[in-house]
């Protein structure tokens, strides 16, 4: 008898496993896939949420072959104004019949205008709330960030996914919430966000079928945006931050017509800070290897001499890019987005203490020396310029 009672008790406990107060069903959740925050003229915040529609997924899945990717959107966008994010969110909740859930939101977009006024207050909400993740990506958009949510990209299911994929490809800067917090509270007091724009839809595509894409970098000093950097300078920053991946370098080797394109395969960047006689200097050592992807010149890359010519051009090109980026960061923006301060702090904590409060003035004066070591390792499947008659190939 007692045994039976015990067993019944154990089975009774199973009922408790589901929990009571915090029981959440997936079909009661509005899963946010991307969020945009901007400021309006009346100093009010506009919060826009891109919410996933599960229904669209289940019915739209079957028509994959029908070309246009389905007429029904997989997401809906709702926006609401409020005095801050939490206010806007609570008002927005009344327009969405399901409970807003941030746990899957991997994309947060700030409007350019809001970014210029400061994002600290809004970051507080995102960092304090237990649901948004440290790994979520942050962006700054030109114009109204809501547009970036509303577009219906032809290839991906929703625009938030497009941005996330682009960031994963390291097309532009890849900035997570953790990076931003580190940048804001760390020694650098500066940050960089990928800057996005809407790519207009191609011919024959519907009006909303543009996609957001990364065009450069928004530079932040403290929590305020101070300017943008071009795509070219962004590449230089990516080199410096060791985030270089998939992109092609196009070179014009000296003394020959045409261009050679390379894919950097690996890149190692070392920032070596030096302080000598109160002169702050940063050595940037780049060691990179690349593979030829296109050869538009008449050089046969099998000969050591032509390789040397190309390698030299490669070196120059990387050096130019990095110097351009440093130049822009140091003199135009005066914001330490390349984390020189971190390097100095790590190596010279005592000296750093002295300039900590006036790093703004010191940073532009830091001397930078860029040394690039560039090599070409592979030439692909052909060993001579493709389609060029043998006798026209320059052998040297």
């Amino acid at each position: 008898m007692k045994n039976i009672l015990h067993i019944l008790c154990i089975f009774g406990l199973i009922l408790l496993l589901s929990g009571c107060w915090d029981r959440v069903e997936v079909n009661d959740l509005a899963i946010v896939t991307a969020a945009a925050i901007d400021i309006k003229d009346d100093n009010q915040i506009e919060l826009s949420l891109q919410v996933f529609i599960p229904k669209a997924l289940s019915t739209g899945g079957g028509q994959g072959g029908s070309g246009q990717g389905g007429g029904g959107a997989a997401t809906l966008v709702r926006s609401q104004r409020g005095s801050n994010i939490s206010d806007a969110l609570s008002k927005l909740q009344s327009k969405i019949p399901r409970k807003v859930f941030w746990g899957q939101c991997k994309v947060f977009i700030f409007g350019e205008k809001l970014a210029k006024q400061g994002i600290q207050e809004h970051m507080d909400f995102l960092l304090r709330h237990p649901q948004p993740r440290e790994r979520a990506y942050l962006y700054v958009s030109k114009g109204n960030p809501k547009d970036a949510l509303e577009v219906l990209p032809p290839l991906e299911r929703y625009s938030g996914e497009v941005l996330r994929e682009l960031s994963d490809l390291h097309i532009g800067m890849q900035v997570t919430m953790q990076d931003v917090q580190e940048g804001l509270v760390g020694v650098a007091q500066a940050g960089a966000f990928p800057f996005i724009k809407i790519l207009p839809p191609g011919k024959g595509e519907e009006k909303l079928q543009g996609i957001p894409y990364i065009v450069g970098t928004a530079v932040f000093k403290k929590d305020k945006m101070v300017g943008t950097m071009s795509e070219k300078a962004t590449r230089g920053i990516l080199w410096l931050r060791n985030e270089m991946e998939a992109y092609t370098v196009i070179l014009k080797p000296e003394g020959v017509k045409g261009e050679v394109s390379l894919n950097p395969v690996s890149a190692r960047i070392k920032l070596i800070p030096q302080i000598r006689n109160d002169k702050w200097k940063m050595l940037v050592n780049v060691d990179t290897e690349g593979a030829v992807v296109q050869n538009g010149t008449n050089l046969a890359l099998t000969s050591p001499k032509s390789i040397q010519t190309v390698e030299k051009a490669y070196q120059e090109d990387i050096k130019d890019r990095i110097e351009l980026a440093i130049q822009q960061a140091q003199h135009k923006m005066k914001a330490d987005i390349i984390k020189f301060s971190k390097e100095f702090y790590r190596k010279y904590p005592k000296e750093w203490k002295k300039v900590e409060n006036r790093w703004d003035e010191v940073f532009p004066k830091v001397e930078v020396e860029v040394n690039v070591e560039a090599h070409i390792r592979r030439q692909g499947y052909i060993n001579k310029p493709g389609g060029l008659p043998e006798k026209e190939v320059k052998k040297q």
Partner: protein, 364 residues
């Protein structure tokens, strides 16, 4: 009173989560506040308190091999003063158990069960621990033995999964601001290390008493290494943002992302952590129940296990209106209070005991 016997390995396995479980939750953030990038040095400095406490507890145990601190303090100090000391210990362990419950429950409410009343969460864990303590020391030891590998494996995999996200250079500068910051950062973990005095309640029930010291010291070492590892992981991933997080380990756990699909692991980490917290609370609960029973000279501690559960629940609320108040207590009061009760008073007792022994030998 306690008829069960445990092995010294079991004691080590019980003590490990009893220290580590809450020391990896919020302490790295507190340490980082003082020690900045040197936070991984602080547990090493703090561990000396752990070694000292184990040494003192073991030496006291040598003088009175069959008794716990409640009983032998009466022999050392006399009946009246001994009773006062005994009351201090009873009170201390009930109160600390309350703090542990509160820490545990606030964490659970903060991160997962937002709408659940906190008293329900506290009540359920106390209920579970009460059952374990009621079962006796052997049950507790075996429970720890079952869960210990899970706990260890989780920490191990955790550090591997985070590997790709480590920014090793975050460790520099080492001792950039001198030695003071890591020392100050070591104060709070030091409070946790004094909790090793709990072995005083376990040593009399060891089947292999001679190994007690060895395993005690070993546990201190392993705990130190674990805390250093956790602090390093947190530092490598969060960098200067560490001191801003209330639960740095949780923030880091959420950061795990392998191959784009192996992510959102926090529920798993949470489950494992709860297992650790369960062992920790059970050990403290056991100490509280045993010491109260011995203090009152009861024939058995089992009848008061449930009543003490209620007291623990009440102490978890008492004078602690919010989480900030709890943290203030853990930073500004607990380390010194714990040091006083668990290291300084025992040290004093040890000195008295050896003086007495010498006197006795001289008179013979």
């Amino acid at each position: 009173m306690e008829k069960g016997k445990i092995s010294s390995l079991q004691m080590a396995i019980m003590m490990y989560p009893a220290i580590v479980a809450t020391a990896i939750l919020g302490v790295p953030s507190i340490t980082a506040k003082y020690a900045k990038t040197d936070l991984w040095l602080s547990p090493i400095l703090a561990s000396f308190l752990g070694y000292a406490t184990v040494y003192i507890a073991y030496k006291l145990h040598k003088h009175y091999p069959k008794e716990t601190v409640i009983q032998f303090s009466e022999h050392i100090m006399g009946r009246f003063a001994g009773k006062i000391l005994g009351f201090l210990f009873c009170f201390f362990y009930i109160q600390v158990a309350g703090l542990i419950v509160r820490e545990y429950a606030e964490f659970v409410v903060d991160s997962f069960l937002v709408n659940t009343p906190i008293s329900v969460i506290m009540g359920s864990i106390i209920f579970l621990c009460a059952l374990t303590v009621y079962g006796g020391l052997e049950v507790l030891g075996r429970a720890a033995q079952v869960f210990f590998p899970i706990f260890i494996l989780a920490i191990f995999f955790f550090s591997i999964f985070l590997g790709p996200d480590f920014e090793w250079k975050n460790i520099f500068p080492i001792l950039g601001n001198g030695v003071m910051p890591p020392i100050k950062g070591g104060i709070v973990p030091g409070g946790w290390f004094t909790e090793f005095f709990l072995i005083s309640f376990l040593l009399p029930f060891l089947a292999d008493q001679k190994k007690g010291m060895k395993y005690g010291m070993m546990t201190v070492f392993v705990v130190t290494m674990t805390l250093v590892l956790i602090n390093l992981i947190v530092l490598f991933v969060l960098g200067p943002a560490t001191s801003f997080k209330v639960y740095p380990l949780m923030s880091v756990a959420r950061y795990i992302s392998l191959a784009d699909f192996f992510e959102h692991l926090e529920s798993f980490i949470m489950a494992v952590w709860i297992v650790g917290a369960f062992i920790k609370l059970s050990v403290f609960y056991y100490a509280a129940a045993l010491s109260t029973a011995q203090w009152l000279n009861l024939s058995n501690y089992r009848p008061i296990v449930w009543p003490i559960g209620i007291l623990i629940l009440e102490f978890s609320f008492w004078s602690l209106p919010n989480t900030m108040g709890l943290e203030r207590y853990l930073v500004g009061t607990f380390p010194l209070f714990a040091l006083l009760i668990q290291t300084i008073i025992p040290l004093f007792l040890l000195m008295m005991a050896s003086i007495r022994k010498r006197k006795r030998q001289a008179s013979q």
